[in-house]
Symmetry: C2
Subunit: 364 residues, 2 copies
């Protein structure tokens, strides 16, 4: 089948670009002796998780137990759930999947640790634990080495838990290498205090898990880090280009759309809106727009209704007729993929693979 035969809107992945993205990251991690544990939230597709493992990843990361179940059912055996598991029912499910694979969970509270320990003890299973440190993003994670050590010691004392180390997420918004370097200096000051406190206490950190796509190629410069969890690097997107973490040629994912109306002056309407692209905003520059039109950079995807994309063609280099097929690189690949039941792997003009987004909708 040809791309031109796909009904629109259709999410396509340029396989050549994706494969280059996978190798480049795996090569970098190998060169730094850092384990690569990609966050599969960006694609939610077991076949692609396996491609990541084949290219050098030692395991994967997910956010929800439901996503872990999908990956486990597809045969993936080493999974980090980088998300606090809270509540007795979730802990029971977690203990259940821990029978079938190596499962590690991050957490930042004694409540989460106690609930998981109760469930794993009862089911006779074992879950690895990373304690999470906040390095300034202000989402999850404990603030300092004293709290981290207290929680780690608690975890070490509980049955059914194996304390494995530290996790952090430098998710602060930074653009370009200078801002990333400044962020890294602040993060390293915090990490240094934690590493020292754990060494002093004689509690080994076998894993120090850091990283995100924007900081991934500088992972070797974060102190103590021996594992990273980038997600978006497999596809990249407008945001990654905008913050200087990727180039346009690294963007593997795009959405093929069709012009369905051009009757309003200065506008062309495409058959994808917020239910195709998500309404995630552009993080860089002036924050405007929802994607880049590959065929004409002078055109802005200015506004999204649920099923309509509003192209502003006032400064367009070409005409837009009803039926024209166009290609959009979206702001955020993770949210875009999550809108679709299946996506297509393409090489040149040919559709080579159809993948079900099996982890989609696994919010629990």
């Amino acid at each position: 089948m040809l791309i031109s035969e796909l009904e629109t809107p259709a999410v396509i992945i340029d396989l050549d670009v994706m494969e280059q993205n996978l190798s480049r990251m795996a090569d970098y991690c190998r060169s730094q002796n850092i384990k690569l544990r990609p966050h599969t939230k960006s694609h939610k597709i077991p076949e692609l998780a396996k491609r990541q493992i084949d290219s050098g990843a030692t395991g994967i990361t997910v956010a929800k137990i439901g996503e872990a179940e999908v990956m486990l059912n597809a045969g993936i055996k080493d999974i980090l759930i980088a998300y606090p598991i809270v509540g007795a029912e979730k802990a029971r499910r977690l203990a259940g999947i821990a029978e079938r694979a190596g499962i590690t969970v991050s957490l930042d509270s004694a409540e989460a640790a106690l609930t998981i320990s109760a469930a794993t003890s009862e089911q006779g299973t074992n879950v690895g634990i990373l304690v999470e440190q906040d390095v300034g993003f202000g989402r999850c994670g404990l603030a300092n080495e004293v709290e981290l050590l207290t929680l780690a010691q608690k975890v070490s004392s509980l049955p059914g838990l194996e304390f494995k180390g530290l996790m952090f997420f430098p998710g602060q918004f930074v653009v370009g290498p200078e801002q990333r370097a400044a962020l890294r200096i602040r993060v390293n000051e915090l990490l240094d205090r934690t590493l020292e406190a754990f060494a002093r206490a004689g509690l080994p950190l076998s894993t120090v898990s850091g990283g995100s796509t924007p900081t991934a190629y500088e992972s070797g410069l974060f102190h103590g880090v021996n594992e990273v969890r980038p997600g978006m690097y497999i596809f990249n997107d407008r945001n990654m280009v905008g913050v200087g973490a990727a180039l346009m040629k690294h963007c593997a994912l795009s959405v093929v759309v069709t012009v369905v109306s051009n009757s309003v002056s200065g506008r062309a309407i495409i058959d994808g809106g917020s239910k195709t692209f998500s309404s995630d905003r552009y993080l860089a520059g002036d924050g405007r727009g929802f994607g880049i039109l590959k065929e004409d950079l002078a055109v802005e995807l200015e506004h999204l209704s649920e099923e309509h994309g509003h192209l502003n063609i006032q400064h367009a280099d070409r005409g837009y007729r009803v039926g024209d097929r166009l290609t959009v690189i979206p702001n955020h690949v993770c949210s875009t993929v999550n809108m679709h039941d299946e996506i297509y792997g393409v090489r040149g003009e040919h559709v080579e693979s159809v993948w079900q987004v099996a982890g989609r909708g696994k919010v629990r």
Copy 2:
């Protein structure tokens, strides 16, 4: 099952409130002698479409052929696809479903009309057509009565098409009754010219389809309108309250979430983010925030990661512990429902129904 037993995040519908919303709109439309054709994009659930029909709707509206197929397979026989169908393959699918139900489509181009006519003629079926007028929203629709009449005459001349009338969507952003009245005056001026031109040409408009949830209870004041297509009224949301189109007590949909972390000072993190609520912005006021916390109006759902909701609890009236269950009314119900595989109908504390969001992901 009790609500308190649902794993989170879980979308729940207060059935008492939903039923009141359904009756109130049906009663209003009956009182005005206006047909009610609800837009099912807001729920995408055949069982709820049937509830709408049982409460007085004469048919339903959808945006995509895939949604029409889901509703048709569930036995719904009168469907308006309020979206231009463009492309030979989509036209073929459209002609196919027209064998099994009464299908009407809106369009604003001769290209769309010709493609559909070719497909329906070939398959020996028939599709109703509404020509779309832009009444200032600037999305789809022809600008004036001359263009509308030209297209309507073209449609009337083509085999396999039945010209039925006019459609418009007053989707402009307006807040409160004064702004809605001003909008209505502008729209009525445009409608008057169209109605007069069609009357003069002797081309009857058996359907004039207008309306949206914000303007729905003023539908009788739009000139010539004999059908409306509100969607959100079944559930309502923070946006509908914000623009003065509903009250908090009319909000039937909320999302039950759990606090998964409170380790960052001034923050509580819940287990739903942009993949639970969507990242649709608040349309009114200062545009800030992604939902209302029912338990504490002083708390803002300030930021969304993909799977984390960031509550700002600096001005909170209560403490937030890991494991606490909370209830959020989201900005936009249509986008929220679209994130979930199933949602729950509840009465009091009891879960009465589990509905699959069968139209979810039907982007084509």
